[in-house]
């Protein structure tokens, strides 16, 4: 049996954030997730998903804890999150869909992390709610068309499990091949 635990988002210890933001936005860290980690409210729910991912990457998990909706904040297994932040390397975050309607939002994302050398793909759709200007995490479920991504070994030439329509090696597999 292979040790495996699950989490909603996970993180890396890399130094990537010195320049480009770890959330894969292509923007400089200082102009992207950094101000949000330092307390500025995320302008959109998508930006909040990005900043929560980045919080794992730079091991700043207070941000993840504080952006849980109050009714589920005590559900956050901080000890496990700290461990994952330490053990995982970030490969990639992709936002596939972000739908905001008033003070609620649904964001579909795919995360690639590497742990003990193995690639783990997490795909999900998370719900957020805006309260006093803060986007708060409410719940998550596996993204429907990605349900089997976790358990299947993906071939380089197969369609990417993220649903982009591209071959895996040209999409989320590209980062995996590079390292």
């Amino acid at each position: 049996m292979k040790p495996m635990q699950e989490t909603l988002v996970a993180g890396d210890s890399g130094n990537a954030y010195r320049g480009v933001c770890p959330c894969c936005s292509g923007l400089p860290f200082d102009a992207c997730c950094r101000p949000i980690l330092e307390g500025k409210p995320a302008p959109t729910a998508e930006a909040q998903v990005r900043s929560r991912y980045t919080a794992f990457a730079v091991k700043s998990l207070d941000h993840v804890e504080n952006t849980h909706a109050p009714e589920i904040r005590a559900d956050f297994n901080r000890a496990e999150a700290e461990r994952l932040a330490e053990e995982c390397e970030w490969e990639n975050l992709r936002i596939h869909q972000a739908v905001e309607e008033g003070d609620t939002a649904e964001i579909e994302f795919v995360i690639n992390v590497r742990r003990n050398g193995g690639l783990i793909i997490k795909a999900g759709r998370s719900r957020f709610r805006r309260e006093a200007g803060q986007w708060l995490f409410v719940s998550t479920k596996p993204a429907p068309h990605l349900e089997h991504a976790q358990s299947t070994k993906i071939n380089r030439n197969d369609p990417c499990p993220c649903g982009s329509g591209k071959k895996h090696k040209k999409c989320h597999g590209a980062a995996a091949d590079g390292s």
Partner: protein, 259 residues
């Protein structure tokens, strides 16, 4: 097999190896001795133990409106080749008077109905249980005769059901792939298991003594991580112990929330 069956534990220590199922109460009481985790075991509909599993375990909804039943058992998580940490000189239980109710209730097994216990009175290979005429009658007419410890364990398991169901609800909410993994485990020939962490239980149940329990677990896990390091056959165990140790390290310092 309706005749009286005799049984006396000679305290030979032969059954004191590998995983030891515990009640929640015993698990917390011995957080400073056993490396702990939660083990989920799916029980097939139609199997002999299904009724007990439905009473003492949890229901797990599957897609399409179906449902499966799983036990969730707090466990001293030890490789099958390792002795229980309470075992002295390979023979004597070092905590005999206070030993977990699982050990006191041997040979009976609480997750099987009383009327199906006969098989457990036949010692497994290598065990030195006394089943001769000299031993007292332990089971007769599908009823357990020497039953105090059996009842104590069973009652503790009944009492903890609401806690386990709350835990299952939490896990199903935050580990959306858990039902699929349990389903896969149930298809394995020997019966698969899913292992979840003590940290997840302490978090889900908002255990008021989480930090204290974690600080007792930490040295236990570190010791088992050290013992299993470098043994390729036990690399999975090693990974579990060292990962959980990190979680317990954090939890042991955490300030209780909810204020």
């Amino acid at each position: 097999m309706n005749g009286p069956l005799r049984f006396l534990c000679t305290a030979c220590g032969k059954c004191c190896h590998g995983q030891l199922p515990l009640t929640l109460k015993d698990a917390f009481a011995y957080a400073g001795l056993f490396p702990l985790c939660m083990i989920w075991t799916p029980v097939q509909r139609g199997s002999r133990d299904f009724r007990m599993a439905r009473e003492l375990g949890v229901a797990v909804p599957l897609t399409g409106g179906r449902e499966m039943v799983s036990l969730i058992v707090p466990t001293s998580f030890i490789p099958s080749t390792y002795p229980c940490p309470a075992l002295v000189d390979g023979k004597m239980c070092g905590i005999h008077r206070e030993k977990p109710s699982r050990c006191k209730a041997m040979p009976f097994y609480p997750y099987t109905e009383e009327r199906y216990q006969a098989g457990y009175l036949r010692p497994r290979q290598g065990w030195e249980c006394d089943v001769s005429e000299a031993a007292p009658i332990a089971y007769d007419g599908k009823r357990i005769v020497l039953r105090d410890d059996f009842d104590i364990e069973k009652n503790d398991l009944r009492d903890q059901v609401p806690v386990l169901r709350g835990y299952a609800e939490h896990m199903l909410k935050y580990s959306p792939t858990l039902p699929e993994r349990l389903w896969q485990a149930s298809l394995q020939e020997k019966g698969g298991q899913i292992v979840t962490s003590l940290s997840s239980l302490l978090t889900a149940t908002r255990h008021p003594e989480a930090a204290e329990i974690a600080s007792k677990q930490l040295p236990v896990l570190n010791a088992y991580a050290a013992k299993t390091s470098g043994d390729p056959k036990l690399s999975d165990f090693h990974a579990y112990y060292s990962g959980w140790a990190k979680e317990m390290e954090y939890m042991s310092h955490a300030i209780p929330r909810g204020i």
